[in-house]
């Protein structure tokens, strides 16, 4: 062997470590020791669409907290001079010059033949929008007064981003306030059905026997019921003279009652599979009570799955509320939710003459899509086999 073909090598001066092959690099250590939640989060980060949707949802729910701030008008503000006014577009350039966000002023003309209100724009009347300003007063979450808004209509002007309805109320503001009800119904409903589903599924899966069969029967009965007719029937039962809050909770309970079955089934099947595992037997032998076994050992194993399924059920609740309000069985005015707004929009006048009143369908679609993609991403992230 000639010297120039000698392979470069060195001898380390460090003491010999018998376990060096098995030792983990810091990155590897982080990976293997990470909790299932961290793993999930890492995987989720790589799924860009799910992340974007997650951000959209966070924004939506965030806006629910500060609806009063985001909406240019108060929920009840009426502009009786601007009934059924079409959306006002926001311009940046006026005759070539950059002016900043503004809207054009409008006149009011009543077409007496058609009894149609028209609002021709005055192209010479530039009305700049105000930001971080003082506008309509409101009661923040009904607790304290304020009048600070993100964007306000110009002085002596109007800012109807999505037009107005039959009483001259700003559609954009109403959608913003409506989000409060529509989005929280989904959350509250899910929490109810989640807890109930886990409880029932857990009991059925763990105990087996007659507990299992009776829960299964109940599930089957509920699943055999076509959703909408059951909702219709139950909503017809809700005493309509309850205060809005009670009706709200009544509706969420009704929606949740039909939803927990899917979750319960998933929990049950997983539990049946895992129940025979050694760690479970070990815990039993050590004297753990069933609730501890279920709650501490079995459930966390697939909690991520459950959360993903739950996320995917929220859209169904939102759509359910919308459908019920549409049929006039759910929430009604003066409560404002997206469903109530769509109910007011479902007539031929709106479709033919005032289509901007159908805008609430856009946030509905957006939120539902976002929930679906986010939930998909969560489920993919939670799945250990990918």
């Amino acid at each position: 062997m000639s010297r120039q073909h000698e392979i470069e090598h060195y001898v380390s001066s460090e003491p010999f470590d018998a376990h060096s092959i098995e030792a983990l690099t810091p990155e590897q250590e982080k990976y293997y020791l990470a909790s299932q939640w961290t793993l999930m989060w890492w995987k989720l980060k790589r799924h860009r669409l799910a992340l974007i949707c997650g951000i959209i949802l966070a924004l939506n729910y965030g806006s629910v907290l500060i609806s009063e701030f985001v909406a240019p008008y108060n929920l009840h503000t009426r502009n009786t001079d601007y009934i059924y006014s079409p959306p006002q577009s926001v311009h940046l350039f006026h005759e070539g010059r950059f002016v900043g966000p503004f809207v054009y002023g409008r006149d009011y003309k009543l077409d007496m033949d058609l009894l149609l209100r028209t609002y021709p724009e005055r192209k010479d009347d530039v009305q700049p929008l105000r930001f971080f300003c003082r506008g309509d007063s409101y009661q923040f979450w009904g607790l304290f007064d304020g009048d600070f808004h993100f964007v306000c209509p110009p002085d002596n002007g109007t800012f109807f981003l999505l037009g107005t309805d039959r009483l001259g109320r700003d559609v954009f503001s109403r959608i913003t306030y409506g989000a409060r009800i529509s989005l929280t119904i989904g959350l509250v409903g899910i929490m109810i059905s989640f807890s109930f589903g886990i409880l029932m599924g857990g009991l059925a899966g763990y105990y087996g026997g007659w507990v299992d069969s009776s829960v299964q029967r109940v599930i089957e009965v509920i699943r055999s019921f076509p959703e909408l007719p059951l909702w219709m029937a139950l909503s017809a039962v809700l005493p309509v003279n309850w205060s809005p809050i009670f009706i709200f909770f009544g509706i969420t309970v009704i929606l949740a009652m039909l939803d927990w079955t899917g979750l319960a089934r998933a929990v049950r099947s997983k539990l049946i599979a895992l129940r025979e595992e050694d760690f479970c037997t070990a815990a039993e032998l050590m004297g753990a009570k069933p609730s501890r076994i279920i709650g501490r050992h079995l459930l966390p194993g697939f909690m991520s799955h459950l959360i993903a399924s739950a996320t995917l059920s929220i859209p169904a609740m939102i759509l359910g509320e919308t459908a019920l309000s549409f049929l006039g069985l759910g929430l009604r005015p003066p409560i404002t939710s997206w469903g109530v707004l769509l109910n007011e929009a479902q007539n031929i006048n709106v479709v033919a003459l005032y289509p901007w009143l159908m805008f609430p369908v856009v946030p509905v679609i957006l939120v539902i899509l976002a929930f679906n993609f986010f939930g998909d991403g969560l489920r993919d992230a939670a799945d250990p086999y990918k």
């Binding site: 669409l49 029967r217 089957e220 009965v221 699943r223 055999s224 019921f225 076509p226 959703e227 909408l228 007719p229 059951l230 219709m232 029937a233 139950l234 017809a236 039962v237 005493p239 089934r265 099947s269 049946i272 859209p315 759509l319 919308t322 459908a323 549409f326 049929l327 769509l342 929009a345 479902q346 031929i348 479709v351 033919a352 159908m358 369908v361 509905v364 679609i365 957006l366 539902i368 899509l369 679906n372 993609f373 998909d376 086999y385």
Partner: protein
């Protein structure tokens, strides 16, 4: 196999019984009864109310009897084919129902077929070309259908179909054909009107099916036998058709159990908006006017339809999938 079938059918019976009780209780829950809401309606229209007639009708309809008696009367009647009496129409329920059951089933079936035809190719494409633009794009379209509230979509489509195609608004056929005997023109008119509800209802179910099919197929595609097949040199198309697809077909059939309730329920609300002669609008007005037996019978019908549909899909699955037969049960 035979014992499986018999077992499934037997478990159906108590389920249906419980459902019937639930249905009846729910119908009775709102305060008052049919006659009270009838009087209220007459009053609000400015028409006169004949108190004597009302008292007579209350007795005639048995509304003065206790609840369990009314329930018993109804259930035993149903088993004999007598579905009770509709106060609103002053006719036996079976006469009011007429064509509507048939049309409900028709629309549900056509919608399911439509959903299959759309979801199947898209699901396969998505699974085999995972994470591609096609995958994302088509899934997005599917989800769009899911997310749009179908009643609003129905109303918009009705209007534009009328403006651009001259289709008469609502209903399943142009008014001239309603009681006319079947003819080619009538068929054309029905098809003209049918596509809107089918598309509207179908789009919401499509997304879910695509997603489930895709997930299932992906699972299959990662299994050992597929890898083996590919290693052995099978062309991808043939590989796909021969193995995973067959397995997914099973799943397809099983999914009717998920799809059917959704389709039926979606059909109800669309029918209300579009004024279709199916069970939806009648059910809604029966619930609102507390026309007890009519509402109850319709709810039972829908529940039975769902249960039978699920049963059929389970049985079909048992036929297709030997694992189920051999294991004697179905763990979903």
């Amino acid at each position: 196999m035979g014992s499986y079938v018999i077992r499934r059918i037997l478990t159906m019976i108590p389920t249906l019984l419980v459902i019937s009780m639930l249905v009846f209780v729910i119908i009775q829950l709102p305060p008052g009864d049919y006659l009270e809401s009838y009087i209220a309606e007459l009053q609000s229209q400015g028409e006169s109310v004949d108190e004597q007639k009302i008292a007579f009708l209350r007795e005639e309809y048995g509304l003065d009897k206790p609840i369990y008696e009314q329930y018993f009367h109804w259930v035993t009647g149903m088993l004999q084919g007598d579905f009770g009496y509709s106060f609103e129409y002053s006719l036996p329920v079976s006469e009011v129902v007429g064509d509507r059951l048939f049309l409900t089933i028709l629309i549900s079936l056509v919608t399911i077929v439509f959903t299959w035809m759309i979801a199947f190719p898209i699901g396969i494409y998505s699974a085999t070309h995972q994470y591609s633009w096609g995958d994302y794009g088509l899934s997005f379209l599917g989800f769009l259908g899911l997310a749009t509230p179908n009643f609003l979509l129905a109303l918009i489509m009705l209007y534009f179909a009328n403006v651009y195609f001259g289709t008469s608004i609502g209903g399943l056929m142009a008014p001239e054909y309603i009681d006319a005997p079947w003819s080619f023109d009538k068929l054309v008119s029905v098809l003209e009107h049918l596509w809107i509800p089918v598309v509207v209802i179908g789009t919401s179910g499509t997304a879910g099916m695509i997603r489930r099919l895709r997930a299932n197929l992906l699972d299959e595609l990662q299994k050992q036998y597929v890898v083996t097949g590919r290693a052995k040199g099978l062309p991808p198309g043939k590989l796909l058709r021969k193995y995973p697809l067959r397995v997914s077909l099973n799943f397809f059939v099983a999914d009717i159990g998920n799809l059917l309730p959704q389709v039926i329920s979606g059909a109800e609300i669309v029918a209300v908006v579009m004024s279709l002669p199916t069970t939806g609008p009648i059910l809604l007005s029966a619930l609102q006017s507390q026309d007890m037996y009519l509402a109850g019978s319709f709810l039972m019908f829908l529940a039975v339809l769902t249960v039978v549909g699920v049963l059929v899909s389970d049985l079909a699955l048992a036929v297709l999938d030997p694992r189920i037969r051999l294991q004697g049960g179905l763990e979903k």
